[in-house]
């Protein structure tokens, strides 16, 4: 260790040390926030997606049990439940409730068919002013369109492979 007798040098050094300490503290703080904030929100988002998505599916299962007890076949009951869930998703989007569900649930609200219905109604409502054909008619399928395209293309490819193997 060198000894500093020059007072100017010591004060300059002190200033430098203060500055670098400040910088260090700031970097440390940045690192802490980078590490912790996303992790916490990822966990929170995951939990919310789980219970919101689970709840929507439980509602659908309740409906399924009702219709299957009423004597409908599994296929019929599935079709009726899908229709009701799509109706609910579309209606709740229309009255502005589904937005709040999606804000909490994230993927838990998007991935079930109710979210599919939401993805049809939301852009269609928004672009209504562009007319009934290119506003509502076209924008209904801004997300549903790609979903249908990839779903149908994949299933037909699978079908052609299965048909050749069989």
């Amino acid at each position: 260790m060198a000894t500093f007798t020059d007072p100017e040098k010591t004060s300059r050094l002190k200033e430098q040390m203060d500055q670098s300490r400040k910088q260090y503290e700031q970097e440390k703080y940045k690192k802490i926030t980078q590490k912790h904030v996303p992790k916490v929100s990822i966990l929170k988002n995951a939990v919310n997606a789980f219970w919101v998505g689970g709840l929507i599916c439980a509602v659908a299962q309740t409906l399924f049990n009702i219709f299957s007890n009423a004597g409908f076949t599994v296929k019929e009951a599935n079709a009726i439940v899908a229709m009701i869930m799509i109706f609910l998703g579309a209606f709740l989007t229309g009255i502005g409730v589904y937005d709040s569900i999606a804000k909490v649930g994230g993927a838990g609200a998007m991935v079930p068919v109710t979210g599919f219905a939401n993805s049809i109604v939301a852009p269609a409502m928004e672009f209504k002013k562009e007319g009934y054909v290119f506003g509502i008619g076209a924008k209904m399928f801004s997300i549903a369109g790609p979903v249908l395209v990839y779903g149908i293309v994949t299933s037909i490819i699978v079908g052609l492979i299965a048909f050749t193997i069989m």
Binding site: C57, T62, G94, P112, A144
Partner: protein
């Protein structure tokens, strides 16, 4: 009991989607997630991996959009059995006709009736 399984399986499927969205460094839109789910559901169904999920979870597996992919593939496969090559093209959509029709008609009605809030 079926309710609990629907909740758990459905919740788990949605949770995976949320984690994928949060951990992907770039922004993924709703469209990408839904397209991914339909495609993965269809592929999993073709490999015979999705039916067990439906057997356990019921609506928990059919209501997420991966269930739509599963429905399409199963429709195509049963179409092949009854109609051969024609079934490849008819089976998928006819098996899911109710859902597709409901999405179009209810989506249209609600979009006409309501206006966006705020």
């Amino acid at each position: 009991m079926s309710l609990l399984w629907a909740f758990l399986i459905g919740g788990a499927i949605c949770l995976v989607g949320q984690i994928i969205m949060d951990l992907t460094p770039y922004e993924i839109s709703t469209g990408h997630v839904l397209v991914g789910y339909v495609t993965l559901g269809a592929v999993a169904s073709a490999l015979g991996l999705y039916q067990p999920l439906v057997d356990i979870g019921g609506a928990g597996a059919t209501i997420p959009l991966s269930g739509f992919g599963h429905g399409l593939v199963q429709g195509v496969l049963s179409g092949i059995k009854s109609q051969g090559i024609l079934g490849v093209f008819m089976g998928g959509i006819s098996a899911n006709a109710a859902g597709i029709a409901a999405a179009v008609i209810f989506g249209y009605i609600m979009a006409v009736l309501f206006n966006p809030k705020g």
